[in-house]
Amino acid sequence: MMGDHSLSGPLDDVAADAGHLDHPPRVGFFTDTSVCIGCKACEVACKEWNLVPEDGLNLLGMSFDNTGMLGANSWRHVAFIEQQRPLGNQDTGLAGLPTGPSGTEQTTEVVSSALRHAERGGGELGTSPLPVDRGPQSLGMPSFDLPGAATGTEGRTDFRWLMSSDVCKHCTRAGCLDVCPTGALVRTEFGTVVVQQDICNGCGYCVSGCPYGVIDRRPHDGRAQKCTLCYDRLRDGLEPACAKACPTDSIQFGPLDELRARAAQRVEQLHERGVTEARLYGHDPTDGVGGTGAFFLLLDEPEVYGLPPDPVVPTRDLPAMWKYAGIAASAFLAAAVAVFAGSGR
């Protein structure tokens, strides 16, 4: 079947567009972060099932997140964000407790200033120790008092933890897939995006083509690696390891249409219960990547979780790019002709 030749926008049937004639429905993840408890079972299950190597055992020093970000050796990443506001109408029960303001902002400053000096600006998995030019910082621990014991009631704040398990988005318009020059990246019959490890030659183009910063080249291996949505398990009719391991069903796996309907219901439900900040991210087929196969319910703006607020597949502007390149190339050739015609002989 011939796919349509559009480079962006919605696409009804991604698998058929990639040439799969008789294919199962498109599947994906709906990650409902409002019920994520930050247990990281998804990270562990993914590593175990897919034999993803260890990526360092150091502490990042910024929160309970010691993974940092998605990369070649972390295909699931649980983000932790502490904020001074309640979650919906939840009673945090702080009134009688000696809980002061959190130290998150302070640790953030230390971490982000150290990231500036890291070789890839923190773009590598964050578990290698970073040079901190300010020397050790006191975070007030260990202490003989309870945290915040010395502050009065006026120093007490509401708080909530945002936790979210990030993963490859398996975009409808996948930047990594578009730029891959070897055909190693393919669209599977499930509508997911997978790197064929026997083909990839490690050119690194997909790393820069991804608007989410997901895929990366594995050091010492040289090939690009990312979530496969457990392609092997899907073939055997099993759900991906992370969804299987998730104890709260924060990670839900299923046919994309079904997940989108379920997600819309869940947002409505949360709004009714007073969690007005609940929103979906990546569910919309008219967005810059044509909607994602793995989408999220978030409780704050996407950038707070390290996600781009309005990602666009770079391929969208490809015709314009070649147009400018064509003009420049013509000018280059015309100049050469003119130069020789003008100087005679």
Binding site: I81, T151, V179, C200, G202, G209, I215, P308, F332, V339
Partner: protein
């Protein structure tokens, strides 16, 4: 033991009478800074995750992956452009009977192409699999398109250069005569493909999520083809006698001027992404590039046809200017992936605009 340490503060602290511990000091000091936290739509106080208040991010960590490409890629951008420019000069010199310029340009085109091949393959994660690039021809991947452009461009450059380098003994054999005959059509073919070699690399960089490269897609092709022409003209000025180098000087002049103009336009029109070009290491590299290119152009114009020494010096300045331009552009793209502001701020504006 554990309980006797923990219990008393719990009883006292609701009244604010807890002793002054280490934890409390750091938290107190943190108080005034917190006032900068912005208020959300529902009135609750939001905490900014990054010291700079204009945008929010996840602990200041990058959203994008910085490129895995190392110095070899900007070096290839330079050698590839140099090869393309030299191929064009070689064909022109051949058709207008300038034997010295023809000979040097043909050889330059091949040596820089060989260097390009080495740089491209060595930068792969799995260099032994470089031929996997030839499995597919993929219009959506500028790297695939470029692979095929180079594959078509290479043989012509090779034949033309080898015909120049044949020892006299081989030159008169059948093979030698055949090569001699093929040299001109081969060289012209490669010269026709050379503009594509010089310009596709701009599309390659632009079709990435790196904001500084992607946003610059209208200007990058002109910077890259200009840089290619300037470097090829410069190299020819260094290596060929002055009486044959007039087209090389003019080609370099065209290249240098379009590089400088396009580079200026880019700085003005890019919005926030232009900051990646005008700060840090990219700024330093591009500043020196502009100085050297301007100096090379001035030298070539004023003294290029009178003094061999001036021609050599101007040619070298143009070469260095072109190389630094490539490294500067590369560096800007890398910087724009490391700092989340280049991703978050424009996208947020787009959503709210």
């Amino acid at each position: 033991m554990g309980t006797s340490r923990g219990n008393p503060p719990l009883a006292e602290s609701p009244d604010g009478a807890a002793p002054d511990g280490a934890g409390a000091r750091t938290l107190d000091r943190d108080q005034p800074r917190r006032a900068r936290g912005r208020r959300d739509d529902d009135g609750s106080r939001e905490q900014t995750m990054v010291p700079r208040a204009e945008f929010r991010s996840y602990y200041g960590r990058p959203v994008l992956k910085p490129p895995v490409w190392e110095w070899k890629i900007p070096a290839y951008l330079f050698t590839g452009g140099l090869s393309a420019g030299s191929a064009v000069l070689a064909a022109g010199a051949d058709l207008t009977s300038r034997p010295a310029l023809r000979r040097m340009s043909r050889i330059n085109a091949l040596t820089t192409l060989l260097a390009s091949g080495y740089l491209l393959i060595a930068d792969l994660g799995r260099p032994e699999r470089f031929h996997h690039m030839l499995r597919v021809a993929k219009p959506t991947s500028p790297m695939s398109v470029g692979t095929w452009i180079l594959t078509m461009y290479g043989p012509g450059v090779g034949i033309a250069a080898v015909s120049e380098l044949l020892p006299a003994a081989v030159r008169h054999t059948m093979l030698g005569r055949l090569l001699d005959r093929l040299a001109r059509p081969a060289a012209v073919t490669s010269a026709v493909l050379a503009p594509a070699v010089a310009s596709y690399t701009a599309v390659l960089l632009s079709q990435t999520a790196a904001p500084a490269w992607h946003e610059a897609h209208p200007q990058l092709p002109f910077i890259f083809t200009g840089s290619a022409a300037a470097s090829a003209g410069g190299l020819a000025m260094v290596l060929t006698p002055m009486d044959e180098a007039a087209p090389a000087r003019m080609f370099a002049w065209y290249g240098g001027v379009s590089e400088l103009v396009a580079s200026k336009l880019m700085e003005q029109r890019l919005g926030l992404a232009s900051e990646a070009y005008t700060t840090g290491r990219a700024r330093q590299l591009r500043r020196w590039s502009q100085r050297l290119t301007a100096a090379g152009l001035a030298g070539a114009t004023l003294a290029g046809r009178r003094s061999r020494a001036a021609a050599v010096a101007s040619g070298l300045a143009l070469l260095a200017g072109s190389a630094l331009q490539r490294f500067g552009v590369f560096e800007a793209g890398v910087a724009s992936t490391k700092d989340p502001q280049y991703v978050v701020v424009p996208q947020r504006q787009r959503l709210e605009g």
